[in-house]
Symmetry: C2
Subunit: 223 residues, 2 copies
DNA sequence: ACCTGAACACCGTTCAAGT
DNA sequence: ACCTGAACACCGTTCAAGT
């Protein structure tokens, strides 16, 4: 089925090629398209062949998390900044992590269910930055919890306050105003511009930075 | 297969019975055990029968989110508190929502991928509380984003800083200290007691409240 | 050492057919 | 109106067998 265009000796599979192919599929078509069979055809091989290089699908997913996380760690290590200002330093790190995450919009979902050593290393550096910056270990620890997934540059929102803001038929507007009066009031006052600026997770850059600063400022005040 | 113990007329299925059965299974054995076939046997019916009361599995999951969210909204409406202090009022609401969530540890995962009208209503009330308390709509809007899933009482953490803290063999400790020196330093200083106090999501009550207060205080300061 | 074919257990889902 | 049997397409996975 997966036709081999020519008869050149095929590049042998490897754990890394398998992971790369899987990431490419997720980037293109989402996580749910990333099936063993689909990865197989992308590599011109059978699904069963993958099991020689990867224990099972769970291991494959772990490997992918590690891959993306390493991409982030590499990017973040490039930063050279006088770490005097811990707030500025962690802020830049986190926003850089976010840039990588934005290239892999399916990743947050994975990161929330699996951990990899590289994730732990990333947080280790963050704690280092904080502690050098004058936060006690205890406060840095609280800070890690307060940041949660935002430390890695994303925050899964539960609903988009501005969803369908512009496209509500008149007769429904009255109902809406009845059922969620405060949101209607809020939205009529707050111009939530460019709603779909940053991918599916309704979480645009400005809101992300506001929330991040709110937390960092709060921690700094407790220093 | 699903044996009918006696021959009394069986209670007919209904959308609500299907949803309740599904929730019961998730509570007992987790989300991944909640298959259509399994729900069927729990109700003494065939999996295919469910499709008469529920369009498909996606609709079923939406219904479950609505069910849990209604449970939260009902609980939260019981609170009678002078809404003078917006911070105290939202704090109590959120911690009450958390109590319900803790009874359904599988729910956070679902809430992050699906929305229901009741979720929107919940946030509407939150905005109302904030606005009455003196926050501008704009600030309340930022606040919603800053709270994120914490508004509903949970926060998916990416890893447990204290995982395996007590159970590390001596010879590995040296390696660990090499690779994540800051975490090792932090943990040796911070006694992270009762690590598994609150379910699978490594997110205990004290850390949750600390982070919540950090955000609420930050918003209050911007009022 | 590396890859595959055939097969298995398990999903969600459809549809014509039963009561 | 409500429920079911049989069947389909699709998963992840095993394992003996091929090169």
């Amino acid at each position: 089925m997966a036709m081999q265009a020519n008869s050149e000796p095929r590049i042998p599979l490897s754990r890394d090629r398998v992971l790369q192919a899987a990431v490419a599929i997720a980037d293109a078509d989402g996580l749910e398209s990333m099936t063993m069979r689909r990865i197989g055809v992308a590599l011109g091989a059978e699904a069963m062949s993958l099991y020689y290089h990867v224990a099972n699908k769970a291991a494959l997913l772990d490997g992918i998390v590690e891959l993306v996380m390493t991409e982030i760690n590499d990017a973040v290590d490039q930063i050279d900044l006088p770490a005097a200002d811990w707030k500025q330093a962690t802020r830049r790190r986190i926003l850089l992590a976010r840039e990588v995450m934005l290239r892999h919009p399916w990743a947050p979902q994975l990161f929330e269910t699996r951990t990899s050593p590289a994730v732990v290393v990333y947080h280790d550096r963050l704690v280092g930055l904080m502690h050098t910056g004058g936060l006690s270990y205890d406060l840095a620890h609280h800070g890690l919890h307060a940041l949660g997934s935002r430390a890695l540059g994303f925050s899964q929102e539960l609903f988009d306050p501005s969803a369908g803001a512009g496209a509500v038929p008149d007769r429904m507007l009255a109902d809406l105003a009845d059922q969620v009066p405060n949101l209607v009031g809020m939205l009529s006052e707050v111009a939530h511009d460019d709603p779909d600026s940053t991918l599916g997770w309704c979480d645009d850059q400005a809101e992300f930075e506001f929330s991040l600063d709110l937390i960092l400022d709060g921690l700094d005040r407790l220093r």
